[in-house]
Amino acid sequence: MTELYNGTMVELIKVSKHYHPNIQALSDVSISINTGEMVFITGRSGAGKTTFLKLLCRMELPTKGLVEIDGADIRRMRGKNLARLRQTIGVAYQDFKLLTDRTVAENIAISMEVSYRKQNQIKQRVRDLLDELDLADKHGSMTGDLSRGEQQRVALARAVANSPKLILVDEPTGNLDSTTTGRVMKMLSSLHREGTTVLIATHDHTIYRNVDHRLLELRGGQMHQLRDGVMQ
């Protein structure tokens, strides 16, 4: 049975991205991702997975084509509107983008602070996330002192902390052992079940092999659907 979703969260129509001097990262990609859907995007290194995610959070602008998030064309978004959009998108970057001179708690809190959440609410949420990701003892540690795997989990915690409606995760399990990978995927699945749209870019087939979510592949700058998503 095909999943029933309420509206479209991500809409890309004929999107291309060209980098100077002659790198064609994406060509004429058209795709629609429903609200509350969980999608895996796979592909070889350099296939354009990261570029695809960057276009969705408007870190990059498409060379041509339309990018819509929750019905809004994000190409022309500026200032307050862009900030509001980004508050609703949680991104776990491949390079983590952590502030290495700040504590784990401070790094996670940043995404909530910009939305002016109450301090006690932020503290509670940070504690819960650290428990969930088995990082409770790292609360006051500097992120620069953590292992790559721990940093990766902190980046993920920051992405989900503000309860965004769209979560973009770039290679979430690259530095994790199987147990921790399980924890991370459990958390992402739980967010998906609560109605969050989750996009995971990965080339780790172990995390999408045994699930029934839609699987897309980026190949030669074009998007190919490998598997349909079905209701769990």
């Binding site: 200032g79 307050k80 900030a83 983008k97 940043i110 995404s111 602070e113 910009v114 959440r117 503000n162």
Partner: protein
């Protein structure tokens, strides 16, 4: 309200992380305010002294002969033909000696063997208060020197000229130190913020990515600029007041400084200096942030 708390939190965090450069900036702003305010204080006190001198200014026209009443009327008309004056007073030879005698006091016996008319008759001319500039006084003095029967005209030329040039010099220093204040406040704060931006580039980029508004990013920097201006002007002006107070105590008692009354800035001037300093520092932080957010 949460926005204000978020800004305060960021400002404190930034002060904690970059306290050394914050302190240096504060010190520079304080010093600039102090230097400017010092010369400005000297200048306004010079102006008030100048006003006082101008108030007492009188030109004395020494005459060859004591003018008869008809000639006195004629001289009066000629003086008034140049400009309106506050007062014209003829001093006879006898009156001049009498004055001199009074000035000598107990030593007036030295005049006993002197002839009774050895001092020349004179005209004392008190110019109008609007006749203030040195050039105007000079022109008037030259005009009076050409009156018939005039030996010479005196009004303390050397002293007044020196005072006038000194006042001009101080006014130039005031302008230069104002330039220094503007340069240091705007550029120091601007460069300090730019350095902070470079030092915190990663954090500011992240803030943009997680959805921080421009106000969220730039307001803490404005507040920093505001605080630099406020604290810098407070420190600079307090140090100047301390110096002023110390000079007043140290140089009280008989002395040249007691001829004139020195005063500190009136409260509106203090407030204006603080506001200008705050505006300059905030402008410095604004320009840096604008450049950064534009990129």
């Amino acid at each position: 309200m949460r926005f204000i708390f978020a800004v305060i939190r960021q400002v404190f965090r930034n002060f904690r992380q970059t306290w050394a450069s914050q302190f240096m900036t504060l010190l520079t702003v304080s010093l600039s305010v102090f230097i400017f305010a010092f010369f400005y204080l000297v200048y306004i006190n010079m102006l008030s002294i100048g006003d006082k001198l101008g108030y007492d200014l009188r030109l004395i026209v020494y005459l060859e002969e004591e003018p008869i009443p008809e000639l006195q009327e004629q001289l009066k008309r000629k003086i008034l033909a140049f400009d309106e004056v506050e007062d014209i007073r003829f001093v006879s030879k006898a009156e001049a000696i009498e004055r001199f005698r009074r000035q000598l006091g107990d030593d007036q016996d030295v005049l006993e063997d002197m002839p009774g008319d050895f001092l020349p008759a004179s005209i004392e001319v008190v110019p109008m208060k609007n006749l203030r500039s040195l050039n105007q006084v000079k022109l008037f003095s030259e005009y009076l020197g050409k009156l018939p029967g005039t030996i010479k005209v005196q009004y303390g030329q050397d002293w007044i000229e020196r005072f006038y040039y000194f006042t001009r010099l101080v006014s130039i220093i005031v302008v230069l130190s104002a330039g220094l204040l503007i340069l240091t406040s705007v550029f120091m704060v601007s460069y300090k913020i730019r350095l902070t931006i470079i030092g915190r580039k990663q954090e500011l980029e992240l803030l943009k990515l997680v959805g921080a508004t421009y106000n969220y990013i730039r307001t803490p920097f404005f507040v920093e600029g505001f605080l630099h201006g406020l604290l810098g002007s407070t420190l600079g002006l307090s140090a100047l007041f301390g110096l002023f107070y110390w000079i007043q105590i140290k140089f009280s008692g008989p002395g040249i400084l007691n001829i004139f009354e020195f005063s500190f800035f009136e409260p509106p001037v203090i407030v204006t200096l603080a506001i200008v300093s705050i505006l300059l520092c905030t402008t410095g932080s604004y320009t840096s942030m604008r450049k950064y957010l534009r990129t």
